[in-house]
Symmetry: C2
Subunit: 172 residues, 2 copies
């Protein structure tokens, strides 16, 4: 899942997406995790939902709902927007995928199973997205919320910039 030989590879915290890695495993692991969790929680991991997750897992970048819809249609599923949005809503609601608000697009969760506040690094050059963990209540925001009496329920943390591989290309 993480780059082989990476000095501090840790499946729970290592940002996936910028480094070379066994991508087949990403897909298999993602599907397996979802299957298990759905079985546990009595959720229906139906064909559309499974396919939608597979589609997202194919890449480490965010896909728009209509991009997902196109691929669902190609795979023989319905072709109207709600088909995609419903599948994506299910995946997001159950922690198998996340919505990248900055891009109005969706990406498979890189750390499925673990409950977490995700944080994303979005490369503006190649559109790849890596997921890390945020600690929203610890930083300046958490302090501001406590001071103001604001109860945080969910956080969106997205950094836009340049990924290592694009930075390298740009330097060359």
């Amino acid at each position: 899942m993480t780059s082989p030989g990476h000095p501090k590879a840790d499946p729970a915290t290592d940002p996936v997406g910028f480094a070379a890695h066994d991508h087949g495993r990403c897909v298999a692991a993602g599907i397996a995790a979802a299957e298990e969790r759905c079985a546990d929680k009595g959720l229906q991991f139906t064909p559309v939902r499974r396919k939608a997750l597979e589609i997202l897992l194919q890449e480490h970048r965010a896909l728009g709902a209509y991009e997902v819809l196109d691929r669902l249609r190609d795979a023989g599923f319905g072709s109207q927007p709600p088909v995609a949005y419903r599948a994506l809503d299910f995946l997001v609601a159950n922690g198998f995928a996340h919505k990248i608000e900055r891009l109005n697009a969706f990406i498979a969760c890189a750390h499925p199973g673990t409950s977490h506040s995700p944080a994303f690094m979005i490369c503006r050059l190649c559109d790849s997205v890596a997921e890390a963990h945020a600690t929203p209540t610890r930083g300046a925001l958490g302090q501001a919320a406590r001071d103001a009496g604001f109860r945080i329920e969910r956080t969106v943390v997205e950094a836009e910039g340049v990924c290592p591989s694009c930075a390298e290309k740009a330097d060359a």
Copy 2:
């Protein structure tokens, strides 16, 4: 600008929006700051742009582009989407307003003039939005970015939850 008598009111860091305050000042201060900065930097603070900022400053919540457009039209400006988007783009590009990605909507900057990475607290009950300061490079995200070799250029930090005044109402 901040609530009179607030124990730790500090114009540079105090989140505005949830507490009672002299709202007329918000508007006046926002316009004044924009005027000054535009003069300094040779930017044209044209009537549409001024009006758009005024519209945003009217409330401590985020307005959709089309909501802004409606009010611009009411004020005698053009009524086509690009009118609003261009004005909003200008305001955002120059730090007079921010886009709330979670809401696809815009809000006047609460700390104009200061260069900052904004963080927002969005009340899901009353839609009010308060702006605080984020310290993106300091927390877990900054660490992850350094580890991954990702160069952060801009961050989106938005917390969704319940503001103090709505929490109070809910308790009652």
